[in-house]
């Protein structure tokens, strides 16, 4: 990774970047009622490992990578104020199609809504920062042409912000782990140091998943029923801290 790419990834991966992710637990908040007991560190790690290996890796990561590739087909010449070129229109349409595929393949309503809300918050920040493509893609979401899932928008905007495919996928994987462990810390399931102790193994899993190639026509194919049930339980909790 070149220094500029590393610094850009650090910028977007830092919790100081306002992307709305702090309000989402991806179902972790529903883990306790599902288990019938407070999850310990091993349970938190297993939950996140399932997310990485069986959901994010084969589903969101695939969409992110394919959107990243699609975003590069015409984006360099695009403006951000809606006056995008015909070439960029085609690139954004391709991203929107991949975006729709991911949304339709997400069985869990609460995770589907969460992916859209988190995507909208992420997009709102880039819109105000003027990241190329953000304005035009927001128009597609507003018109109903794209659902605006987080993974699709990450692929589009991180490409336009200068991250290469591997950097973008690694950053999204890092945020999944960091966000999950931060949520676990706020839920009182692990301490801050306990969360850090889980990081190396989980980031190792991310590195392994990111190293797997994504075929040009690969479709999202995640399957993580345990996490989906946890998310469904979370949505019905009488007291909730997180959006999902």
């Amino acid at each position: 990774m070149k220094t500029a790419g590393l610094l850009t990834a650090l910028r977007f991966g830092d919790s100081a970047f306002p992307g709305g992710g702090f309000a989402f637990s991806q179902g972790l908040e529903g883990l306790a009622p599902l288990r019938g007991a407070t999850p310990d560190a091993d349970a938190v790690a297993a939950f996140l490992d399932e997310q990485i290996s069986h959901r994010w890796g084969p589903a969101e990561r695939v969409t992110l990578v394919r959107c990243h590739r699609a975003a590069g087909t015409g984006g360099a010449a695009a403006d951000d104020d809606g006056a995008d070129t015909a070439m960029d229109e085609g690139a954004l349409d391709a991203v929107a199609a991949l975006d729709r595929d991911l949304d339709l393949s997400t069985f869990s309503q609460t995770l589907r809504r969460g992916a859209r809300r988190n995507g909208a918050a992420f997009l709102a920040a880039h819109l105000r920062l003027g990241t190329p493509g953000a304005g035009a893609y927001r128009g597609r979401i507003a018109s109903g042409a794209a659902p605006g899932t987080l993974a699709a928008i990450q692929g589009l905007l991180w490409r336009r912000a200068g991250l290469d495919e591997t950097e973008a996928a690694a950053l999204a994987g890092y945020q999944l782990v960091a966000g999950g462990l931060t949520a676990a810390t706020r839920l009182g399931l692990v301490g801050a140091l306990g969360a850090q102790a889980l990081m190396p193994v989980l980031l190792g899993r991310v590195a392994d998943v990111v190293s797997r190639p994504v075929a040009a026509d690969e479709e999202p194919s995640g399957f993580s029923p345990y996490a989906e049930i946890a998310a469904a339980r979370q949505a019905r909790l009488p007291l909730r801290l997180f959006s999902n």
Partner: protein
């Protein structure tokens, strides 16, 4: 391309919000929701079209309270989960609140004012100016007469300090005159209103302050 500032274009690249946005923050139980409940009829009587975003710590307690109050169309109240971080959702990362306000703007094109109510917090919470144009911080006499002396960022930085439940001062051993004088002193004379929201005391003054700050005079 792999640069730190790729194609930096002039931000922001979006249409400005239709309605003015104000924040109301303050400790748990200080009377933020009660202030909104008292303000809504006053603002509505002045012809101000209002919507509210609540940031409850858990569930949508305040949002539901407002929706059931009968004083505002329930569709004009949105709840945003704070992810256990009531500071973050109004300051470090206000994007979810921005989205909620944008949604209300889109739903109600005639909207004049969006009130964003913070989740109950401590004296350190402040609003990002990315999110609001102007903000109120609410404290109350039952929380202790020494609150102004503690000089929390909320008390010091807000555009208007509301000291609520002044009618309770004799019952909780607070010298109200001293508390208000100390509040004025630590704020360097910046605006302050003493209220009793349940009794409707001085709500007009708060509405006047809002109108002067962010609305055409109504």
């Amino acid at each position: 391309m792999n640069a730190l500032s790729p194609r930096l274009s002039p931000a922001p690249a979006m249409s400005p919000p239709n309605a003015a946005r104000i924040g109301i923050g303050g400790p748990v139980g200080s009377g933020k929701t009660a202030l909104i409940e008292a303000l809504l009829p006053v603002l509505q009587a002045r012809g101000v079209s209002v919507a509210v975003v609540t940031n409850d710590l858990v569930t949508a307690e305040d949002a539901e309270r407002l929706r059931r109050s009968g004083i505002i169309d329930p569709a004009r109240v949105l709840a945003v989960e704070a992810g256990a971080c009531p500071h973050t959702v109004i300051r470090e990362d206000p994007t979810l609140n921005m989205l909620a306000a944008d949604e209300l703007d889109a739903r109600f094109p005639e909207l004049d004012l969006v009130i964003i109510e913070s989740g109950g917090d401590n004296l350190a919470s402040t609003f990002s100016l990315d999110l609001v144009d102007w903000w109120i911080f609410v404290i109350d006499v039952a929380g202790g007469g020494d609150i102004p002396r503690k000089r929390g960022p909320g008390v010091l930085q807000c555009d208007l300090l509301v000291v609520n439940k002044v009618d309770l001062a004799p019952h909780v051993g607070v010298d109200l005159d001293v508390m208000l004088e100390e509040a004025r002193h630590v704020r360097g004379g910046r605006p302050l209103v003493a209220t009793a929201c349940r009794a409707g005391l001085n709500i007009d003054q708060v509405a006047d302050a809002i109108a002067d700050a962010v609305l055409l005079r109504r």
